[in-house]
Amino acid sequence: MIIFELFLTAVLLLLILLVLRSSTLYTAYKILISLLLLVGIGFVYYPEGADRIAAFLGVRRGSDLVFYLSTVFLLFVALTSYTRARRMQQQIEALTRELAKLSARRKDDGDAHPGSGEEERR
């Protein structure tokens, strides 16, 4: 049993390290997620604590509480990454569009004027 507890602790500590070293997360998120993971480590050694908090919140078991919370957290992550991907897609669109408009070509221009991308493709 002690091995499993040590393993869980190691995994959670590693996650905290990864979160703190992340360059894309906001500092507030880093602190929040690290605190949650620390609480997780606490629950590994003191599972009754989770049960007590769960009972206080009206959920029967501590493990259920953890399960519900992680579901909410995952949904939140999915939503933020969707928004971020969408924003990036729109930025790529804008960039590609500007580039296309700048390098408009027609026959009389001559087929290989600089910056048209013609040289690379030939």
Binding site: Q89, T96, L99, A100, K101, K107, G117
Partner: protein, 251 residues
């Protein structure tokens, strides 16, 4: 899928009777043609030929094709813009329309690059638009004709029409027809945000919401094996619905 009649090398036996040497009338001043194209090297030269010969300024946006679409369009006499990466038809159309506006277009006609439209419909669209004082003229294959329209495609299009009535609050006879004519003012009033195929519904809904006068004009759609192979199937329509749903969710 059989690709009858497509022979890029010969470049002349493309299964599209309308291309047979029927000269178009002199183009209206300031009418630009916006044509998104993705991997259409096999047909684009033939699609462009009557338009360029008649003197229409055509903007082709090559949406990151992996074939010689851009070179063929350039040789045929179009202005060619190239997306460095493939963004989707909606995004290509937006680029084409922005460029037309930048060049001072007074009218913008969207025209598909796969050869399904009849160039002779452009003056018809224009006449109807000016006569009825409309801002937007949409081609309708159900008011006009669409020989060889497969039954499954007809059903899908009719479902799209019903959907447009719910989604856009607009009663039309056709949906997702690539032939449209906008006045300059109308084209400036909306931006296509749907990069992929949902742009057709989006555009109509935005025009309707902006209070623009929309009319439908009979047009001819020629279904060739080639254009059918490139069109939207059942799965495509589900994607369109999903895209529109996500857009709504985001507002």
């Amino acid at each position: 899928m059989r690709h009858e009649g497509i022979s890029p090398a010969a470049g002349s036996c493309y299964d599209c009777p309308m291309m047979m040497e029927k000269e178009l009338p002199e183009p209206v001043g300031g009418l630009w043609i916006a044509m998104p194209a993705f991997n259409e090297a096999a047909v684009i030269a033939e699609v462009l030929a009557p338009l360029c010969r008649a003197g229409y300024p055509v903007v082709v946006v090559d949406d990151g094709s992996s074939d010689a679409t851009a070179d063929m369009a350039l040789a045929a006499g179009a202005v060619v813009l190239r997306h460095a990466v493939n963004l989707g038809q909606g995004a290509a159309l937006q680029t084409a329309m922005e460029y037309c506006l930048q060049q001072g277009a007074r009218y913008i006609c969207t025209f598909d690059a796969d050869g399904q439209h009849d160039p002779a419909d452009i003056p018809r669209l224009f006449d109807a638009l000016t006569r009825q004082g409309a801002d937007v003229a949409l081609g309708s294959r159900f008011l006009g004709q669409a020989p060889r329209l497969p039954a499954s495609r007809r059903l899908l299009l009719k479902a799209a029409v019903a959907f447009m009535r719910l989604y856009g609050g607009l009663k039309l006879t056709d949906a997702h027809n690539g032939l449209r004519l906008f006045t300059r003012d109308a084209a400036r009033r909306f931006q296509i945000r749907q990069a992929r195929m949902a742009h057709a519904s989006e555009m109509v809904r935005k025009c309707h919401k902006a209070g623009l006068k929309i009319i439908e004009v009979p047009c001819t759609i020629r279904y060739t094996d080639y254009s059918l192979s490139k069109g939207q199937g059942g799965l495509g329509s589900i994607n369109i619905l999903l895209d529109l749903f996500l857009e709504r969710l985001h507002r």
